[in-house]
């Protein structure tokens, strides 16, 4: 529901609010599935950090944006058609997989246990863990670089060399 709203709403702030609601409901779903751990992280990271950041930026840029823009891009119609096709294709894949696949281990899913999960995470998938660490470091460096560029611009107001930083 929230997702559909996202596509339809005009102002970005309202779109952000729709997204927040969507994420919160996802968190709830995760809770129902028994993975409270992930639900917690969903709300914490996504809603708490990412969406806050987005809302902040929207508020920041809203002043500059001119009103009266069209809502949809030029490719709306073909986009819609392909969307329909994609939904159909994906849905049929899932349907087939579901109907021909072997019945899963347990109909209700096993109870999610934290300890085996953590041990598995840090033992079998340690490489991926380390890689994400690297990714975060890279992100921090990039952010710093952006800040530096951002800072340099007020010094050179005459010539427009900001994008070359």
């Amino acid at each position: 529901m929230g997702a559909v709203l996202m596509l339809v709403l005009r102002e970005p702030m309202r779109v952000a609010l729709a997204l927040i609601t969507t994420m919160m409901s996802l968190g709830a779903i995760y809770g129902f599935l028994g993975v409270h751990f992930i639900a917690a992280f969903q709300v914490l990271i996504y809603v708490g950090a990412v969406m806050v950041f987005m809302v902040f930026v929207i508020m920041l840029l809203e002043v500059r944006e001119a009103r009266g823009n069209k809502r949809y891009s030029n490719l709306a119609v073909p986009g819609a058609m392909v969307f329909a096709m994609m939904v159909g294709v994906l849905g049929i894949s899932v349907w087939r997989a579901m109907n021909t696949g072997a019945p899963s281990a347990s109909p209700n899913g096993e109870a999610f246990e934290l300890v085996p999960f953590s041990t598995a995470f840090l033992r079998d998938y340690w490489l991926q863990f380390e890689l994400t660490t690297v990714l975060l470091v890279a992100a921090i460096v990039a952010a710093l670089a952006v800040i530096k560029v951002h800072r340099r611009v007020p010094d050179n107001r005459v010539s427009d060399r900001s994008a070359n930083g």
Binding site: S73, L75, G79, V82, M85, M86, V89, L90
Partner: protein, 635 residues
Amino acid sequence: MGFFGAHGLLVIALLPLIGFLINGVFGTALGGTKLGKSLVTAVACGFPLAAFVLTVRIFFSLQALDYAPIVEHGYRWALIDGHTFDISFYFDRLSAVMTLIVTGVGSAIHIYSTGYMKDDKSYARFMAYLNLFLFFMLLLVLGRSMLVLFVGWEGVGLASYLLIGFWFEDAANAAAGKKAFIVNRIGDAGFLLGMFLLYQAFGTLDMDVINAAFTSATVPIVSATLVGLLLFVGATGKSAQIPLYVWLPDAMAGPTPVSALIHAATMVTAGVYLVARMSGVFAHAPEASHVIAIIGVATAFFAATIALVQTDIKKVLAYSTVSQLGFMFLALGVGAYGVAIFHVVTHAFFKACLFLGAGSVIHALSGEQDIRKMGGLARKIPVTFGTFFVATAAIAGIPPLAGFYSKDEILWYAFASPSGGSPILWGVAALTALMTAFYMFRLLWLVFFGASRVDHHVEHHIHESPLSMTSVLVVLAILSAGGGALGLAHFLEPQLALPAVPEELHHLEGTLVIVSVVLAFAGALGAWFVFGGPASRAEGLQRTFAAPHRLLSGKYFVDELYAMLFAKPLAWISENVLLKVGDRKILDGTLNGIGSLGQFASGVLGKVQNGSVHLYALFVMVGIVSALLWSWTRG
């Protein structure tokens, strides 16, 4: 002589080739110094002489074998689809005669050239080309298969082109060389077609095999007449018969030794050799033989008329050569193959002597070639005069010189041969013989007798030619005088049968001999009368027959006719159709069009990258859909 014994014929052919390579590669580098020139001379003359000596040895071994043909297998050239093409050599009476002439007269002319061309700046190149020519000519006469003959055929055409246009800085000389080569090529088309037919019929191009097949087979597989005519077309090109003779007079642009060697003694006789060699085919092709005889005698007559009024000493001799070649083809046409070859030999002697003598005259007069500017040279260059006189008498057919024997036999068989001889042929030929005597003596009188019409500053430099030139002249004059004794027609008879003259005509033989002698003297005396006396007689004659004189001086305007009929339309087609339409529009247009197409396509495809993120995302969607659909079709 182990190696030579087994491959003697190959060695004969290769010796001049080695000379060509040495002189061609190193000659110019050596050429400047005196020592260098001597080296070039030694190489250039040494190899042909060695070839001649070797030929004589092999001739004697042939004689010892009682003239059974010597066959030498050289080298397998190609093996295509089960058909083999070999380079092999063949030596029988006919080849022996031809090879001896080629190497003998050839060597003599090489020696002459050392004197004639010694001041020329491209001396080494000249000698190298002469050697190259000799190599190809030897391939031609020694080859067993028509393929080897054809290689030699084309090769002598190449050498001829190179030598005619030897002084190529003058564009006219180069044009003459081109004309020779191109006209030859037209004839070669016919030759090739004939060869294709023969190969298709017999599966081989070995000439002795083909001849045997024709003589023995009861029903010919391929029309002998057709093959004969096609081969004759090739011969008309190489041997300057109607309609492809037009290159020979222009070929006089080359140095005189070239005219002597190639356009008198050897190359132009290649066509005669071809027909004689393939006598098995022509003996079974009466219509083709008729054509050959008629064209031969027509050419002889035609060329003789032109020679009557020419004013350049070499052009007179050139038309005379065409005329004499016509005689040879006349003999071939009536089945007297051996006689034709006999005339080839005697003609080689006296025509080479005449050309070299003309060269000596030109040399003495520092380059003058117009006979209207000559005269009274007999006392000043006596050796040249003496040899020229002997050769002139020979060509006129005055007994007992060589030309009399061969020409007389031709006239006899033209009259009496059962395969095509007729009084009409004889009559035209006899008239031509009369004209031959007339114009040759005219040449003699105008050049050597009478008051001197030579330019004054040239007159002071008149000198006899060096020994290298005069010695050759003397040798050739002696051969012209005594060559009749060779009786080659009878020597070749076991191989090339002479036509069997019907009984009732035999008694006429003596009469006809006398008639031809009378004609020869009549021509000589007539020339003496017209040109030996005061100049007014000749001029009076010219005024009376002004119109024919113009026609003959213009060589019947055949060159102009050819230009109008063939050259101009071809040039027009090349320019307008092939160049403008074919080359520019079609070829360039297609290539440019492909380029434009590429550019257009890239322009269209480039629109995909229009920088819009939305579009790219759409493509992602489309990609997902298609990937899934595709994976379904794969099952």
